[in-house]
């Protein structure tokens, strides 16, 4: 091999840089985000109905909330339909600002926790108004 030494040295330097994130984080446990659902509105709901519950089941919401929000948006803006009757037959007003964020008034401890962890940047809040965070 011509210039073998230089090539191997170059490869070693390249790999050192390229793999830096992997060995830098090696052995560090990256804790998964813990979402807080402890807000006044949710506490009130839990007291009234005996359990914490979202518009759909927790597993469904975790996996499909983005698709659900898209469908809500289309239904509200395009068809004017505002009432969502969930799988259990319970009614909810379809509104990000007035329904979702009314309960999840802790956006920083709820939405942002996962989205930051996953490096997902939804642009909902370029227009929709964030709740005034409860500092208590």
């Amino acid at each position: 091999m011509y210039n073998g030494g230089k090539i191997i040295a170059g490869l070693a330097v390249f790999l050192a840089f390229f793999l830096f994130p992997f060995y830098y984080n090696l052995g560090k446990a990256n804790a998964r985000p813990e979402l807080k659902t402890d807000t006044p509105a949710i506490r009130e709901w839990a007291q009234k109905y005996g359990k914490k519950e979202c518009v759909e089941s927790k597993d469904f919401m975790r996996a499909e909330h983005m698709q659900l929000l898209n469908d809500w948006r289309d239904s509200v803006v395009r068809d004017g339909n505002r009432i969502y009757t969930n799988a259990e037959g319970r009614h909810h007003l379809m509104s990000l600002q007035n329904t979702c964020l009314n309960c999840h008034s802790n956006k920083k401890e709820f939405c942002d926790k996962c989205h930051n962890y996953m490096a997902v940047k939804p642009y909902c809040f370029n227009c929709h108004v964030e709740p005034k965070e409860n500092k208590s």
Binding site: E56, F60, E64, Q67, L68, N70, D71, W72, R73, S75, V77, R78, D79, G80, N81, R82, I83, Y84, T85, N86, A87, L93, M94, Q97, N98, Y123, N126, C127, H128, V129, P131, K132
Partner: protein, 271 residues
């Protein structure tokens, strides 16, 4: 591998690549099959919504400002101080010549020459803005309201060029920003309605969000009877009664867009 085998593999992988994900996962449904979406029982409905503006009942500066503020405050419409270039407006004042061009003349009644007229989106029956929108961000609802879906707007401003009434404004600047003097563009932030973002077009949407829960549009409520709202296709509605009794005009009817705002000119004293 010969040429024939290569093409076979390439073709098969293209097909899998294009349809593969949905073939494996199926099309995802956004909501569970048992869920339903429906109209709020309180919602106001009509075949074709329309407005009647009684010009004679808007006299003082305050009469106009009450309607404008009611609208702009609940919809987070920014107010640009001394900056007409970037102005955003849903409902505003115009003089006679700009409101009803071509009908002014040299011997005109001095009162009308000076008078301001309250104008906003006409929610035309044949809206030019809807015809030109390339993304269907603006569309006509079943009830006649010309709606604007901010999620879909790409900010091309074709609708602004098409609208003969100047009813549309473009967000050249971030509406959440500040005036040069440091005051926020949105004076009172409504927590229940979104703002817009830089690069989208906005306009009056006939308070569709208030109709949906059984409330009249904000300007109608604040106008103290100067603006009426109702179903133009219902012969017994209040708007139709007024239109049937009094002489009303619409803006630029010669363009054929069929505006849904009727102006009572001259008012009850003169008619």
């Amino acid at each position: 591998m010969n040429r024939r085998q290569f093409l076979k593999i390439a073709g098969a992988s293209t097909v899998l690549g294009l349809g593969g994900a949905s073939a494996v996962n199926g099309f995802r449904l956004g909501v569970p099959a048992a869920a339903r979406m429906s109209l709020d029982p309180r919602a106001l409905t009509a075949k074709r919504w329309g407005f009647v503006v009684d010009v004679s009942r808007l006299r003082t500066e305050e009469d106009y400002q009450k309607c404008i503020d009611a609208c702009h405050n609940i919809h987070n419409v920014p107010t640009f101080k001394n900056d007409l270039q970037h102005e955003v407006k849903w409902i505003w004042k115009e003089n006679f010549e700009a409101t009803f061009p071509g009908t002014e003349h040299e011997y005109m009644n001095a009162e009308f020459k000076e008078k301001k007229f309250l104008v906003f989106c006409n929610h035309c029956k044949e809206p030019a803005c809807v015809r030109v929108c390339p993304t269907k961000a603006t569309f006509k609802r079943e009830d006649g309201i010309v709606m604007q879906d901010m999620h879909r707007c790409i900010g091309c401003r074709f609708c602004m060029a098409a609208c003969p009434f100047g009813a549309r404004s473009f967000n050249y600047l971030d509406p959440r920003g500040k005036n040069p003097d440091g005051s926020p563009l949105i004076r009172v932030q409504s927590q229940t309605y979104p703002t817009r973002t830089i690069g989208v077009v906005e306009k009056c949407i006939a308070c569709y969000e208030r109709l949906a829960i059984g409330q009249q549009p904000a300007c109608v409520e604040a106008s103290n009877g100067a603006i009426l709202f109702g179903d133009l296709e219902d012969p017994n509605s209040e708007v139709r009664k007024v239109i049937g009794e009094k002489y009303t005009v619409r803006r630029k009817p010669e363009l054929g867009t069929q505006p849904s705002i009727y102006y009572v000119i001259g008012g009850s004293e003169h008619a």
